[in-house]
């Protein structure tokens, strides 16, 4: 009986080792600039969106916001932008039926910059900064259910 169980025991052991190797791979400490990551995630999509600006000379900042957005509940992030620089804020999620919107507001709360259309689950807003100081980036989902979303930014 014990001998018959041995192959089964080896099989589970091999399975456990393979799983552990996968866990200990690059993903555990992956960086936002890990272009080789095989999985699609809100972050990888947001990076793809931002990478589209590279041709215009934008460089991607290795920092991001990620979290769950619910329909109609905005996420507001304070940033400090410098006069003379151009910025683009790119946001994405994996729900193709969602409608994502990114907007920029100045230190007094007035809308600033431009919004660029992406597809429904991707959106970008950009600004050429004239006055250095605090700005606010608002992410809002106008259509769709709760969904994990990520935002990255690039500058030139």
């Amino acid at each position: 009986m014990t001998m018959r169980m041995l192959p089964l025991l080896f099989f589970f052991l091999a399975l456990a080792v393979a799983h552990a190797q996968q866990e200990g791979g690059g993903l555990a400490n992956s960086s936002p600039l890990d272009w080789n990551s095989p999985d699609k995630s809100p972050r990888s999509l947001a990076l793809e969106l931002a990478a589209g600006n590279a041709g215009e000379g934008y460089q991607i900042h290795d920092g991001f916001w990620s979290g769950t957005l619910s329909k109609g509940v905005p996420m507001l992030i304070e940033v400090h932008l410098f006069a003379g620089n151009d910025y683009r804020f790119s946001s994405a999620n994996l729900d193709p039926y969602s409608q994502l919107k990114v907007s920029i507001f100045d230190a007094w709360g007035y809308p600033a910059g431009q919004e660029y259309s992406g597809n429904a689950s991707c959106a970008t807003a950009g600004i050429s900064v004239i006055r250095s100081g605090s700005y606010f980036i608002r992410l809002i989902m106008t259509e769709g259910d709760k969904v994990d979303t990520c935002m990255v930014y690039s500058y030139k």
């Binding site: 900042h61 400090h80 709360g109 809308p111 030139k156």
Partner: protein
């Protein structure tokens, strides 16, 4: 003629979406007060800052660049501070388009990271930096150095070294202001002092430094750092839009003193 009119009409139509934000509502003071402030998104990178300084002042970066060789110390708090300063120096070397200085900064960052047990995670980044420096790819260099800084931050957080993350961030910010305020104090472009007015960031970094565990604040240098950031914060909140010449001089003196002290620091507590 008709094609000209059609082209103009098309241009106007294309411009309409850009006017769309004007129709949006204004944020309330409560919404702005409750906005999230994230270290990795809300605090600008040295790359962004120096790029803006470059556009406004067109300084001779090669003359401004004066890389610091940090004194050897076993004090982890001081090492973290020195590491932040070196990261800022690396970004400045990129602006100076001095590939060798960028490589030197990356090498010194790696040495300090080793002392904090986080070097093996940034080895590949260090190699990439060397490769991009060899081909003068300044855009990719900014991205890689930024990524290296973030990797160090993530590794320190992983090993529960949160105070060191705060000190590296403070070191980088102090060095940026040190270089830029000295540049502006020398009269490079007085109208650009708005770049130095960062009251929200000063207040956030000050709060993080003041809330460090008591053990991390025992070193005289860290107390000097807190004092310097407090003074910078006061200057910036008095003139939140741009800094008058006296404030720029004062900021330059304060930040230079801290950066120099960090480079020469010993580990006596």
């Amino acid at each position: 003629m008709l094609s000209k009119i059609l082209r103009t009409a098309a241009l106007i139509l294309m411009a309409i979406p850009s006017l769309a934000p004007a129709a949006e509502e204004r944020l309330t003071p409560e919404q702005m007060r409750d906005a999230s402030f994230l270290d990795t998104v809300s605090i600008p990178t040295p790359g962004e800052f120096f790029l803006a300084v470059d556009k406004q002042c067109q300084p001779n970066w090669s003359k401004v660049l004066r890389p610091v060789v940090p004194a050897t110390t076993s004090d982890r708090e001081i090492i973290a501070l020195q590491l932040g300063i070196l990261v800022a120096d690396g970004f400045m070397a990129i602006e100076a388009q001095d590939g060798q200085s960028v490589k030197n900064s990356a090498r010194d960052i790696l040495l300090l990271a080793k002392k904090l047990n986080v070097s093996h995670q940034i080895l590949a980044r260090s190699q990439s930096i060397s490769d991009f420096a060899d081909v003068s790819d300044w855009r990719r260099l900014r991205e890689e150095l930024d990524a290296m800084q973030n990797d160090i931050r993530l590794c320190l957080l992983e090993q529960k070294d949160n105070p060191l993350v705060v000190l590296a961030m403070a070191g980088s910010w102090v060095r940026q202001l040190d270089m830029a305020s000295n540049l502006l104090a020398a009269g490079e472009n007085p109208s650009s002092t708005d770049l130095l007015a960062q009251p929200e960031i000063a207040a956030r970094i000050l709060s993080r430094v003041e809330n460090l565990p008591e053990n991390s604040k025992k070193t005289p240098l860290i107390r000097q750092l807190a004092e310097g950031i407090r003074s910078a914060s006061t200057l910036m909140s008095t003139s939140p839009l741009f800094l008058p010449p006296t404030a720029v001089q004062s900021l330059a003196s304060t930040m230079s003193t801290i950066a120099a002290a960090a480079a020469q620091a010993d580990s006596k507590k």
